[in-house]
């Protein structure tokens, strides 16, 4: 048996030993141990080195408030730093390492830094490493980066996966101690939907660690019985290993640990589950956290919170020391003396700062030496506590000890009540912050409310559980009156003992001392929020649970204020550390957002297409053929194939909105800058949609299939935005218009068929029954025609500048259609083309697209000013008339070509007059889109140039310093080929 394991007692299983290792040293614990309790049972006191000064540190607590015992858990990609040993369940093969020390815990070279401690006081980084400035990047920053932080990451991607879940209930109980169990059981028996959260692996809270009785049975047994009854209630859900981390508007966030306690992770099991819980009522029964006392050398290994020592003895049967003293300002600390006595290791002394002790409490110490009205001034020891210096009426006395149990008071764990900004109030009787104003539908029970006795916890839980059940329409029968064993609660004020020789720590995790608080005040940082940021007191994993109150008590005294006047910092979620992966859930990597696939996607994959993300969609970018070595080769081939023969391109991703109703024409006239009420049935028209501020929002082609039947198209990425905008116009601006609209983007699979042979291909596919002659189906016509078992829609529109059509079928036929087009066009040399070739061709034709519709351009900039109707009101009309938006000096659309053939043009290059300095003052615009034109044999570009249309023929400089581009270009007509537009007409 381990050196400090007690032979009897505790909630550990002596029949199930568990092998683990700490810093490579093999050790044995028992089932039911945490890592911390197993270390205590093995007599291991030194568990880490402190953050700044690398002082030897030991375990301080037995719960999530642990500031010192931060270890690295796991190996390889699973390695997680800064894990609190007190929250790690022991499992076979657990392999942990201490942190922040080199080469070893016993001998840490960086401890030499303590000699520099006067230079490392609070805020030192605001005052140092500034001069000379040249050394900042070369020396100071790299050095600080290496030294900063606590623990190290594996650097490998997280091998675990996580999931999210959502649940609803009538009553959410946070904490399964006596108050929480009472509330859950009362409400559960009444039939209310209850969710009970407990961050520990066992339910019971303090009942697991204390000698107490409920209804004559040990508290731990009562907890087991309540848990068993709750498990039989179908309306109650118990989530253990689940920590509530935040109160948000109307919901609680919690994280459930599923595999962190398992030696081997089962396949398909997420590591953690992030819960969003929506409760009609919430009872916070999170208990209270003991606070230590600030005195010289108070960080020596072996100094623990008094209740934690009791927990190790009574729950884990592990002895934290053989000759321990108790230093307390509370009645509760005396119970630790009793626990040690019962374990066969009576304490060396009880030191209480108070003088008046109730007889029943006084009796807990038996006949060990007692010092009343006394204080511990200094704790002496290096890597382990060896003695304490006590001052009081007796003078000064040194006592040899190997441990010190400290109890300064209890802080209700009420952080959740403050997440939405509600402030607690200070109680002079409890010497703690108690919940005051509360968020809606949240109440606090037991120690978390400052009601520290067991009887109060049980009564609160029963009362609040019944109330919650009643509010859910399930009134509870009279709640049972559980009888609790007697206990008292009293505390005296003792936050800080001054005058010790050793460093007196306020915040152990961040190495903040009482002198740092004084320095902060000296430098004017007297607000409690400034104290926190300047000294880092209260930051990092423990969020100041064992340091905040002592810190602000010292601040209050130094600034001559009371504690209420000083206030407390606002706590924000998360209350404890939560893995980022848990917040992401399944949405990581390629699943960060959904991926949308067109009906033709499978076929395109078979063709070996290279895909590009466009919004949520995947679109084929180009279709490489065997032997082609780079994308430019493939894209050039595709463009040439379209312009000389026929090509097909999947354009299903563009938004399509069906509009209907008597006022549909009026509605479209108001949302487009040009007119659509006059569009004849069977025709399509290009439209430009403006924002209300006059800038171009989106463009598309709208077709009319019937008197009250329009189909509006949008760009791929703006489909959702346009739908929202149209819904706004319809519902908010003009609800008097009788118009109906719905997205049909998904209903239709749509393909562009483009090139001189496009009509031949379509005639083949439709068969002779359909007349596609130019007379019957001219440019900009649209119509519906039977196609095999379905009806297809055909549009004669062109983005490429060639004779072109778009054919749409219900999406279920999309795959079949593209294969039919490819089969039917084999003799015509039909070529699939992707978005790159699409872009090359539209640039050759000077069509504006997303790069030009960038949110900063107006119609006039794009050469489309004549589209803006003067005969009707429409969204954006008035603001587009602003003088500044009609200034001819504005960058306006032109074409660009290099004066030296072979020179590559790049979008983003800025235009400067030749010979002018490259400065913002001389900037005259920028290149928006570029392409290699197979038709012309050189690079071409579209751009926005001040007074552009007036400067055709002029030579300017295209300057791209980021990519090393600097070319002379000639300003040309943006329509590079077929400027009369003859080819679209066939």
């Amino acid at each position: 048996m381990s050196s400090h394991r007690l032979g009897t007692g505790g909630l550990v299983d002596r029949q199930t030993p568990i092998g683990f290792s700490f810093d490579g040293r093999p050790l044995t614990g028992l089932a039911g141990d945490t890592l911390a309790s197993a270390l205590v049972a093995n007599g291991i006191r030194l568990v880490g080195r402190s953050f700044k000064y690398h002082r030897p540190r030991g375990i301080v607590s037995a719960g999530p408030e642990e500031p010192n015992a931060l270890v690295e858990k796991g190996r390889g990609a699973y390695r997680e730093p800064n894990t609190r040993a007190t929250t790690v369940e022991l499992y076979p093969g657990l392999d942990v390492a201490s942190q922040n020390r080199w080469p070893s815990l016993r001998f840490d070279v960086q401890a030499i830094g303590q000699l520099a401690s006067p230079l490392l006081a609070a805020g030192f980084y605001y005052k140092t490493f500034m001069w000379p400035a040249a050394l900042w990047e070369r020396l100071y920053e790299p050095a600080i980066r290496r030294a900063a932080g606590l623990g190290s990451l594996s650097g490998a991607p997280d091998p675990d996966f996580y999931e999210k879940a959502y649940a609803f209930c009538d009553l959410l109980v946070i904490g399964a101690g006596p108050a929480g169990l009472a509330a859950a059981l009362t409400a559960g028996r009444a039939g209310a939907r209850v969710i009970l959260l407990e961050q520990d692996f066992a339910l019971g809270g303090r009942l697991l660690a204390e000698r107490c009785e409920i209804d004559g049975m040990p508290g731990a047994v009562w907890a087991r019985e309540v848990e068993a009854e709750l498990a039989t209630l179908a309306n109650v859900r118990i989530l253990s290993r689940t920590a509530a981390f935040g109160l948000y508007d109307g919901e609680v966030g919690a994280v459930e640990r599923l595999t962190d306690h398992l030696a081997v992770t089962p396949a398909c099991m997420p590591r953690q589950r992030l819960w969003t819980l929506v409760a009609a009522q919430t009872v916070l029964a999170a208990g209270a956290v003991e606070r230590p006392i600030v005195f010289g050398g108070n960080d020596r290994p072996g100094i623990m919170l008094a209740s934690a020592m009791r927990s190790y003895i009574q729950r884990f049967a592990a002895l934290p020391g053989r000759s321990v003293a108790v230093f307390t300002a509370t009645d509760d600390g005396w119970r630790t003396a009793e626990a040690f006595a019962r374990a066969g290791a009576p304490v060396a002394a009880v030191i209480d700062s108070r003088r008046d002790i109730v007889a029943s409490v006084r009796a807990l110490a038996g006949d060990v030496p007692v010092f009343l009205g006394a204080r511990v001034l200094d704790a002496i020891g290096g890597q382990s506590l060896s003695a304490i210096e006590v001052i009081g009426d007796h003078g000064r006395r040194r006592i040899a000890v190997d441990g010190l149990a400290v109890s300064g008071g209890f802080n209700p764990d009420l952080a959740m009540t403050t997440h939405l900004g509600h402030k607690p109030r200070w109680s002079e009787t409890s010497l703690a912050f108690l919940p005051d104003a509360l968020p809606a539908h949240l109440v606090v029970a037991g120690a978390a409310a400052g009601r520290f006795t067991l009887a109060e916890a049980l009564a609160d839980g029963a009362r609040l559980g019944a109330a919650a059940a009643g509010m859910a329409g399930k009134p509870a029968a009279a709640p049972p009156a559980w009888r609790a064993s007697d206990e008292t609660f009293a505390v005296g004020p003792l936050f800080h003992v001054e005058g010790g020789r050793g460093k007196a720590f306020v915040d152990l995790q961040n190495d903040v001392t009482d002198k740092d608080v004084a320095q902060s005040v000296h430098e004017g940082f007297v607000s409690v929020e400034h104290l926190k940021r300047y000294t880092t007191l209260g930051m990092a994993t423990d969020q100041g649970r064992t340091s905040n109150v002592n810190g602000l008590a010292i601040l209050a005294r130094l600034t001559g204020r009371t504690i209420p006047e000083t206030g407390s910092t606002r706590a924000r979620p998360p209350h404890g550390p939560v893995a980022i992966g848990a917040f992401a859930g399944l949405h990581t990597g390629p699943h960060f957002k959904p991926t949308r696939l067109t009906a033709g996607h499978g076929w395109a994959e078979e063709q070996g297409a290279v895909f590009v993300e466009t919004g949520q969609w995947l679109r084929a970018q180009w279709f490489p053929r065997p032997g082609e070595t780079d994308w430019l080769e493939s894209v050039t081939r595709e463009v040439q194939a379209v312009r000389s023969g026929v090509g097909i391109c999947d354009v299903s991703t563009l938004g399509k909105i069906a509009l209907a109703g008597p006022d549909v024409g009026v509605f479209l006239d108001r949302v487009y800058c040009n007119t659509f009420s006059t569009l004849p049935v069977g025709k399509a028209r290009y439209g430009l949609m403006l924002r209300e501020d006059g800038f171009v929002m989106d463009d598309g082609t709208t077709a009319r299939f019937g008197a009250e039947d329009y189909l509006l198209s949008t760009t791929t990425v703006n489909a959702g935005k346009v739908m929202q905008h149209l819904a706004f116009c319809h519902q908010v601006l003009w609800p008097e218009l009788d118009v109906q609209m719905v997205s049909v983007t998904e209903q239709w699979a749509q393909f562009a068929v483009a090139g001189p042979q496009s009509r031949a291909l379509l005639q083949q596919v439709f068969g002779s029954a359909v007349d596609l002659s130019d007379a019957a189906f001219p440019y900009l016509a649209c119509g519906a025609f039977p196609l095999g078992p379905t009806m297809a829609r055909l549009f004669r529109i062109s983005f490429s500048g060639e004779r072109a059509y778009e054919i749409a079928v219900p999406a279920g036929y999309g795959d079949a259609l593209v294969r039919a087009l490819m089969a039917g066009g084999r003799d015509l040399g039909v070529t699939p083309y992707g978005t790159e070739a699409l872009a090359v061709m539209r640039i050759e034709k000077g069509h504006v697209a997303g790069a030009e519709l960038n949110g900063q351009t107006v119609a006039r900039d794009l050469g489309l000013g004549r589209m803006m109707s003067t005969k009707k009101d429409y969204i954006g009309r008035l603001m587009a008339e602003r003088a500044a938006l009609n200034d001819p000096d504005r960058p306006t659309l032109v074409g660009l070509k290099p004066t030296v053939p072979g020179v590559r043009l790049r979008a983003g290059a800025h235009f400067l007059p030749i010979g002018a300095a490259a400065s913002a003052e001389n900037d005259q615009g920028y290149m928006t889109s570029t392409a290699f034109s197979p038709s012309l044999g050189h690079w071409i570009g579209l751009g926005l140039l001040a007074r552009g249309p007036e400067r055709i023929g002029e030579q300017i400089r295209a300057y791209d310093p980021i990519r090393g581009g600097d070319a002379v270009v000639e300003v040309v007509n943006p329509v590079f080929i077929d400027p009369e537009g003859n080819r679209v007409h066939g």
């Binding site: 919901e251 929506v278 009101d873």
Partner: protein
């Protein structure tokens, strides 16, 4: 935060797109100065406010939601369509 959609019932705010203050009205009379105010200027009250929210992942209705900007308490929501009648 949950928004009580009159059609769908209480829903998480992530189902909605937020636009802003519901009070401004689009000027219909061609006054450029009034339009500029409508497009650019907004009050920023600390307290209850009526806001336009679009139930993008739900019924696609635009709602006028009454919400306190200080504590996010939502006290009511109604369909925006026909808000003139109920205003």
């Amino acid at each position: 935060m949950r928004i009580p959609c009159p059609y769908c019932g209480p829903r998480d705010s992530s189902e909605f797109a937020y636009l802003g203050d519901a009070a401004p009205r689009r000027p219909a009379d061609g006054d450029a100065a009034a339009m500029a105010t409508y497009v650019y200027l907004r009050d920023n009250p600390a307290g209850p406010m009526e806001e336009l929210w679009y139930h993008a992942y739900g019924c696609r209705a635009w709602l006028v939601v009454r919400r306190d900007t200080r504590d996010h308490a939502v006290t009511g929501a109604r369909l925006a369509a026909g808000r003139e009648a109920s205003a």
